[in-house]
Symmetry: C2
Amino acid sequence: MQSRSPETPDQASDLFAYAVLLRALNRELNKATLDFAHRQGLHSTDVHALAVIMDPAASADGPVTPTRLREELGLTSGAITACLDRLQRSGHVSRVRDTADRRVVHLAYNPDARALAREYFSPLARATESARSRFTPEQLSTIAAFLRALNAELAAGHEPQP
Amino acid sequence: MQSRSPETPDQASDLFAYAVLLRALNRELNKATLDFAHRQGLHSTDVHALAVIMDPAASADGPVTPTRLREELGLTSGAITACLDRLQRSGHVSRVRDTADRRVVHLAYNPDARALAREYFSPLARATESARSRFTPEQLSTIAAFLRALNAELAAGHEPQP
DNA sequence: CTAGTATCACTCAATCATTGAGATAGTTTA
DNA sequence: TAAACTATCTCAATGATTGAGTGATACTAG
């Protein structure tokens, strides 16, 4: 530990400071999401749901279904139904019955939701671009590797939760 | 767009993939928070509030007040009061009047909330430790620098929001 | 020093998202 | 075919959140 004065930034190389940084990041992203929700007149739940439906990483393993959304958002089925009702009424997503298993509903976002998505994603993209510009391609690849590793670790940590 | 095959990892060095990684991280952290909230019988709002009150990064500029919490969580004053009532009733935080400005309330978390905090923070710490172990100190310092830069950019992005 | 204004936290009735137990329709197993 | 299972939806009850307004404290100008 070579931290000498309070403002030496290299203290951030220890575990505790890392966790603090990550939670701060989490807070900033949540705040951005809330801001967006308020501007759009949507509930934060609905925006979180939209993010899951729209984000390629979330829909990596197949189309998103209400059950998938329930797991992702930690809500009960009743709440998911209400949330989807709101999103459908406001024209952001539609429910499409699976052809193979007709119990299953696939969630598709409508064309006009794309503009919404762009507006939602762009502040993060802008901030990310700004931060990225200060690092070399090699460094950026290291950082991406870390983020991937961390995501994998966190995802693994949830699994054994009955 | 130079992505060749789905599993090539070096696609993650472009901006789009970065944003996807960051949102995935955000989702994982939120999910961890929700799990914790459910286990503790707390509302997600209350856990978010606790996180703000407990986290050193959040309380960097002075003690946390209800107004600060309102800005951070994007709720109205009525909701904040109710949330603090719950947290106080369950013994996690106490309200302390500021001595200088007696309109202001400072939020302090009680000793028994420390154990709660440890349990809340430890899964993230464990995952972070695991991910960190695969990188050199120099790389870790680069990654921390990026996280700090990104947080600063995101924080700056919120300011001009009236 | 005093009136006027701003700020901080709180109150309370109304609103509306969420819960949780069940109903419904579809699928798989025996 | 009947039984067991699964995915989604329904709906009354619950309770968190809203939003306007209150009381208390602080600042500021005259």
